[in-house]
Symmetry: C2
Subunit: 243 residues, 2 copies
DNA sequence: TTAGAAAACATGTTTAAACAAGTTGAACGT
DNA sequence: ACGTTCAACTTGTTTAAACATGTTTTCTAA
């Protein structure tokens, strides 16, 4: 249920591009044409189009027009340049998600943990270890650190379903942005055990570390996601800015 | 040399944030204040701020203000969510870049290559293998496929320096955007040989595959970059959009 | 016929103004 | 002392208009 006009237009155009209403490498209708189509102002239309640009769906060319450069990803895995819970992305791609809680504790972070989580030492947090399955295959081992103050009443039951659903629907928290760092790390014995992998095959993991902020500007979550390497895929569209 | 007003403001604010003129978690001056500071219109200022949001530098909160959530990255490696050549990012981080051309050939892509490069079968391309060194340590093995038609006159000498510099300064091509996919792959004997790695240590590589477009909407480059895993770092800021 | 100027059309930047919606604190009355 | 209201902030959305700049087509003059 998009509330704003530009968002409605954005979604409509996006859907049309995905459904080949506009062919690859062809120009979209001009701004003036689209303004009449959607009966909106130029600014509003341009705002919608600019989001398609950052999505890597179209390419604007001054004096020429807007070119469709969308090509469906060969096999859309599960991570695109947006914030999505494991459950959301699984469903979007038609898979069966399933989560198992390995550990659910709470404690105050020590100096060492403060360094990588970003929480000040002494902060009370929930520490959760979870295993994410896709179609009954264990894919991701998650280490979650949630700020207790910001996420009250978290339980193992909630963690087994969707923590984000709890945050947004029950606590009415708004998740805003997430800074992520992707690295490759050696596989640990814990990884090996839970993901049922053999270190003589792959001996590395794809690791995504993220610091997530809510609408109060509070960093309420630090998570390290350790991905099975052969099922890991991360999409990104980078834009070259003028010098 | 920023040409537009909003870009000038963006860079000024960004620099101020990086240099702690605004403290972490503090609010920036309000829109009205900044409008007077920069003597610009509200739209122009908001445009600058919105780029800081996508950069993960600030967080806007309706009714409250704009909060600084920038924290300097522990050790800024070399890849951030922008298009940068190896040379550019190396210099930006104060390192000594150096490139060695292993192979420089040209041929027409076959069916198999067409599948992963995205170039139609039969297209004439330059195929280049390059090894990128940072401070005399081999870090990245690059497989470049350049559309010959779009990049005429490419030579091994140019490839040893900066291809992007040649594209932008000599051919006056404008690089616009790049769709990237990050994966983890098994280390090959070629990787092992050139990067001087031991497969008994890490046996994986961080692989970044990218399709890059110029301002004519033409995909002129496909590149597979194979990174030494222990020196690979990729930054990203994801924004959660309204449902 | 052709080269060049002009017109028409494309996107890019900037300003101004109005209204919407969320937050905060002061004023107010009970 | 307390809660309610209201005014004064904050950012968010939308429209309108003007000018800038790049591209294509059309017309025109040599």
């Amino acid at each position: 249920m998009p509330k704003s006009i530009y968002e409605t237009i954005y979604k409509d155009l996006k859907q049309k591009i995905e459904n080949d209403v506009f062919a690859y490498q062809e120009l979209l209708p001009s701004e003036n044409t689209l303004i009449q189509t959607y009966n909106c102002s130029r600014n509003t239309l341009r705002r919608a189009v600019s989001r398609l640009v950052t999505d890597g769906y179209v390419q604007t060319m001054q004096g020429k027009g807007v070119r469709n450069i969308y090509q469906p990803a060969a096999q859309t895995a599960f991570t695109i340049g947006e914030i999505e819970s494991f459950r959301e992305s699984a469903v979007r791609n038609g898979h069966q998600p399933h989560t198992k809680v390995l550990l659910f504790t709470e404690f105050a972070v020590n100096e060492k943990q403060a360094a990588y989580t970003g929480f000040p030492a002494g902060t009370d947090i929930y520490y959760i270890q979870r295993l994410h399955y896709l179609d009954h295959m264990p894919l991701i081992l998650n280490h979650n650190y949630f700020l207790k103050e910001a996420v009250p009443g978290l339980t193992a039951e909630i963690a087994e379903n969707s923590i984000y659903q709890y945050l947004e629907n029950t606590l009415h928290m708004t998740i805003v942005n997430s800074k992520r760092i992707m690295t490759v790390e050696k596989m640990t014995q814990i990884d090996e055990k839970y993901l049922k992998l053999n270190a003589e095959d792959y001996n590395c993991m794809a690791v995504v570390s993220s610091h997530t902020y809510n609408s109060d500007g509070v960093m309420f979550e630090y998570t390290q996601s350790r991905h099975r390497p052969d099922y890991f895929r991360f999409y990104d569209n980078a834009v070259r800015r003028s010098l």
